[in-house]
Amino acid sequence: MSIRIKLLLVLSVFLAIPFLGWGYVRELDRVLQNAQEQKIAGTAQAVATALHDRARLFDRTPVPLESLEKEHRGSGDAPQAMPHPGAVAEVEQILNGMSRTTSRIWIVDRNLDVLARTGSLHAPTAAPEPEPQGLERIGRWIEEGLLHPLYALALAQPTEDFSEEGAAATLAGMREVDGALAGRLTTTRRTTPDGRAVIVAAAQPIWIGDDVRGAVVVEETANAELALRNRAFERLFTIVLATLLIGSVALTLFASRLTARIRRLRDEAEAAIDAQGRVRGALAGSSARDEIGDLSRSFSAVVTRLAQYAGYRENMASRLSHELRTPLAVVRSSLDNLRQAAVPHEARVYIDRAQGGLARLAEILTRMTEATRLEHSLHDAERERIELGALVTACVDGYRLAYAARVFVLDVPAAPLVIAGAPDLIAQMLDKLVANAHEFAPAGAPVAIRLAQDDVHAHVEVENEGPLLPEGMRERLFDSMVSVRAQSGGETPHLGLGLYIVRLVAEFHGGGARAENRTDGKGVVVTITLPLAVDR
């Protein structure tokens, strides 16, 4: 999983915020509900206070207010008793003050007869909001087009489209009225019969002396409070959403930049060291002052040190041999002098042995510097067009003489394979490969040399039976001073430079070398790939 995705997952923790917000909004809801209940309770109390101890209002059955007159007349069941005109005017006056609110106020007597009623549960139609301009318009579009439908799913929306049917009748048996007639201020909430709105009601007893003679009932929809709550939640949710959105974008950008830098560092590090673990080039350390910059710099330092070490290892042989040559010359010239002096016959045996050892030492030294000398000679090696088939055939003829006991199997295609190269170097490379194969192959087993080609390359394969390559050494075999031979001191020294020379020559020709175990698991194949010459 990429760092970007992980960071975004971490960011999802912030999705908890809307849930916390939900809890907060519910708390707010409760507060608002309380406030509304208290407000209408206050209204009810105020109206009731005005009606306290006005006993004559309740003496007779009063006639409803103007607003109800028609209704009652139309329904045909007009009350028999008419109210006292003065009382009506008084109630009207008291209730007038309240008519502008969205509350509906009832005044009932103990028999639940409605003495007066004013107001409507429906809010007056709001004036249309002004058309927004510019950016605000986009904001509004997003809010109304995208967010509101979303919120509508989660939140109950207040609506004025509800029915008050039966409201008058249902006053009987309502808890608040019963409570009020029992002498208590009572508030209740109920849903409208069609279930589309919540109605909050408060009922306050009207006292005449010590008697409850009636009740003031104030009703209101919870729409205003609901709208308030919704707006608070929407605001919160919109802000959280915007923050999340901006945060995700910012984090994604940041993470992209980070991952891009890390990827670049990885690519550079991979490019700096090739498959064989050799340093191709220095790594330019980043100048950034953060941890990735640090990492890049330490990578760069590591690669530089690796390059120094590789250089040291490649030069060590040559420097060592150079340093050893002088003391060797001292020993050699001393022995030569000794031989010419008059020494007893027995002493000559030891001189011979010493010279034999010296010859071996000299051989080691010569081999040690061979690679270095080859590197030097590569600088001014001249390329010519070579027919690889003829060259390899000639070389193999030579090997048949040189290793008389060994059978060489040669497979050269009939078509000429022309490369641009230095024939001496190719021959030297082949010498090393064949010497290697000869040493590893058991007596009697053949060494096979095959030539093949694809579209752009010639392939030289040298194959022998014998021990397999150790795992993990395959890539390093072609390094300087890397040998997989057991450390048994044979006649000829093994310094792990032969395949290094092979690699140098192959690379000089723009090709490469690789060693693999034979598919039948009984031997080793070394393949040299050389680019074919471009026809002129």
């Binding site: 010359a329 050699r332 510097t369 030097h376 003829d397 030579g398 030297q428 010498d431």
Partner: protein, 229 residues
């Protein structure tokens, strides 16, 4: 009067050993440890042959500078480089500076004395007329074994002693392949295969400089070289 050989070598043991062996051969030997003392002695009296080490203690290329100065004093004095270094670059540089030959310190003392004797013979007989019996002729090639000089189509090819011996080894049995080891033996040098290869290359170049169509030395890959009749 015995011939006088100057040895310039910073390593005391080698200097003493070489001095001993050359004295035993009847030469008059003067040994110097550094360039300054050698040069001041050369200004007073030139030796008959100089054996110079390239690296003289801290004076890394002191031998090269000494060779140049010495060559300025005498054009004909045989100069032999003796060095622990055996890179082609050093060989080429030394020969360009006017040295007659270049051997590594791997050389055995008999080989070294043989080489010194040959160099003396060559410088002495350079002017003397050639005796017919000493000439090995192979077509256009004439090897004067006494003077150790080579002519191709009657034009002199300026070979070093090592190169002369190598050409001699090849041309003596035309058509026969000489492997690198026997070439080394014949040329009395101890070098690796790559150096033999570059010696052969240099020999070819010198012949080609005299005759652009020269192609008598064949490379027999995997085996060695052959003189084509």
């Amino acid at each position: 009067m015995s011939r006088r050989i100057a040895i310039v070598e910073d390593e005391p043991a080698i200097r003493a050993n070489y001095t001993d062996v050359l004295k035993r051969q009847g030469y008059d030997v003067a040994a110097y440890a550094d360039r300054a003392t050698a040069m001041s002695a050369f200004r007073t009296r030139l030796p008959d042959l100089a054996l110079i080490d390239i690296g003289l203690a801290d004076d890394v290329d002191g031998g090269f500078a000494l060779c140049q100065e010495l060559r300025a004093l005498s054009a004909s004095l045989p100069i032999l480089f003796l060095s622990a270094r055996d890179s082609d670059f050093d060989i080429v540089a030394g020969l360009r500076l006017g040295a007659d030959d270049y051997v590594t310190k791997d050389v055995s003392l008999p080989h070294l004395t043989a080489r010194i004797a040959a160099l003396f013979r060559r410088s002495e007989l350079a002017q003397a007329p050639a005796g017919a019996d000493d000439v090995l002729a192979r077509g256009p090639l004439a090897l004067d074994l006494k003077r150790l000089s080579v002519q191709w189509n009657d034009r002199r090819v300026d070979l070093t002693l090592t190169e002369f011996w190598m050409v001699h080894a090849l041309a003596r049995h035309p058509g026969h392949v000489k492997d690198r080891d026997s070439l080394m033996r014949d040329a009395r040098i101890v070098v690796d295969d790559a150096t033999i290869t570059s010696h052969v290359k240099r020999i070819r170049k010198k012949f080609v400089a005299v005759d652009a169509s020269f192609d008598r030395i064949d490379t027999v890959y995997g085996m060695g070289y052959r003189w084509r009749e």
